[in-house]
Amino acid sequence: MATILKSEAGKGIALSAPASLYVGLLVAAPLGILVAYSFWTQTYVEIDRTFTWANYSEAVNDPLVRHLLIRSIAIAGAVTFATVALAYPIAYFIAFRTQKKALWLLLITIPFWSSYLLRVFSWKLILGFNGVMNSALISIGVIQEPLTFLLYNEFAVVLTLAHAWAPFAILPIYVSLQKIDRSLLEAATDLGCNRLERFIRVTLPLTVPGIIASCLIIFIPTVGDYVTPALVGGSQGKMVANLIQVQFGAANNWPLGATLSLMAMVSVGIVAILFVLLATGLGRRIR
């Protein structure tokens, strides 16, 4: 041991081991047990440990599960697109159009230093039937009757999450924009590109890694988001996480909950990999 600790590599491994072991164990062990549970069954509080595919066949054949999974992925996709599309101009603005970069970055991150739960809750109050938005619009006379499409649907979920994830899109894109050598842009202009062409042929391709990074950071956790659909989704906006929570809570069917968790994870993984392949391919096509 003493000689191992003397070597550079040994010191590195010893120092990083606690953290990586902690994360490794808390990823591997729960997942292992989750997999085990997904092949078991539960009646009331008793766990029946005989191997069965029953949970999987139940989940696959249940149209509600399929529907929720597809909806979760679709909503996550919409959230990802909306967030990145809304964030890109901001990142561009901070990178190229302002001298006060640090101030703007600070301004943009401050709202996200508050509890996620509270921010979602606040959106619920803003979008509600008798909420802030409707009452404000009525009192200034824009509308007579409260708008009903604001809350308890997919729109509310997408809006709330696009707000929640904003810095996760702005920061990676800002970093990739900031890294662009300004002389590349001058070279493009010098070679005859106008501003739009220059953006499409130089700036955009160079920020593809940042875009991909923000898409993944947003998409993956969004598929499994619980709070937002529960608070502002209504019945139209429910997602797979809400179903999973029910299995671990009121329905008390842990094996089915485990199965759903695993299925959600696998679907996220597949979609994410497909997305990365597609995006890198597209990034190469723009020349």
């Binding site: 120092l15 990083s16 902690y22 808390l26 509890s115 739960l117 707000h163």
Partner: protein, 264 residues
């Protein structure tokens, strides 16, 4: 240059976007002072009674204490783990370094519901009842990536010859760490403690699954959201939390900047 002034579309957009970002954060405090039970315009009048009533609720105070305990222990655990790991990543080259670096960032991208449900199953299976302990274990897991990245940036610009110089001047390995390394990365450590504390203090889903009958503040708030009569109190409480998070993290940011300034 042409004399025609261009309309600063991007600036207009950026300003609108900022309003969108701040809208929900500013509304909670605004309505927490409103003398009415419905959150809608017009505002009825100014009152502090919703805040005053908070002090009388015992379950709230219990939840507050729980959150403070969980947050403090989580901050200490995650920051210690992160401190050593970050030092290893920045300072040493070893087999599996990139794998290990990727691994500790993993908690950032696993959907919360999956972390929560799988940990619940694990802890029950090994006979660990849901309690503050299990919440701390879970929160340390999700806070670790934050600690590692803050500590990594604190170590990043740290000139390695500073440690060699101390050692060359006769200090021991431990003495070098204490007299040179620690003071220089201290602002990073403070920043990491504050950020991981806040991550834990604000976290809901894991605590919801793992806290059993010892709710943390967010779990308590979740239970209150359902009751319209309690709405003004919840707003007051939420505003307090919102403000304390923002203040804590502004302080953390101050220390983080100081740490990168002093080492470069």
């Amino acid at each position: 240059m042409t004399a025609v002034a261009r309309i600063p579309w991007l600036l207009i957009y950026a300003t609108a976007y900022l309003i969108f970002l701040y809208l929900p954060v500013l509304l909670l405090p605004l309505f927490s002072f409103n003398d009415g039970t419905i959150v809608a315009f017009p505002i009825k009048g100014f009152t502090l009674k919703w805040y005053a009533q908070l002090g009388e609720q015992e379950t709230l105070l219990n939840a507050m204490v729980n959150s403070l305990i969980v947050g403090s222990v989580t901050a200490l655990a995650a920051t210690s783990l992160g401190l050593f790991a970050a030092r290893a990543y920045v300072r040493y080259r070893f087999a599996g370094r990139e794998l290990s670096e990727g691994l500790v960032m993993l908690p950032l991208v696993i959907p919360g519901i999956i972390v929560a449900s799988s940990m619940l199953v694990l802890f029950i299976s090994i006979g660990l009842k849901p309690s503050l302990t299990t919440v701390i274990l879970g929160h340390t897991f999700v806070a670790l990536p934050f600690a590692v990245s803050i500590m990594k940036s604190a170590f990043d610009d740290f000139d390695q010859s500073l440690e060699e110089a101390a050692y060359d001047l006769g200090e021991t390995v431990v003495g070098t760490f204490r007299r040179v390394t620690l003071p220089i990365v201290a602002p990073g450590i403070v920043s990491s403690l504050l950020v991981t504390f806040t991550v834990s203090f604000d976290e809901f889903v894991l605590a919801f699954f793992l806290s059993g009958n010892q709710p943390t503040l967010p779990v308590y708030i979740w239970s209150q959201i359902r009751f319209p009569a309690k709405l003004p109190n919840t707003l007051a409480l939420g505003s307090l939390l919102l403000m304390s998070s923002v203040i804590l993290l502004l302080i953390a940011e101050y220390f983080r900047r100081r740490s990168t300034k002093s080492t470069s």
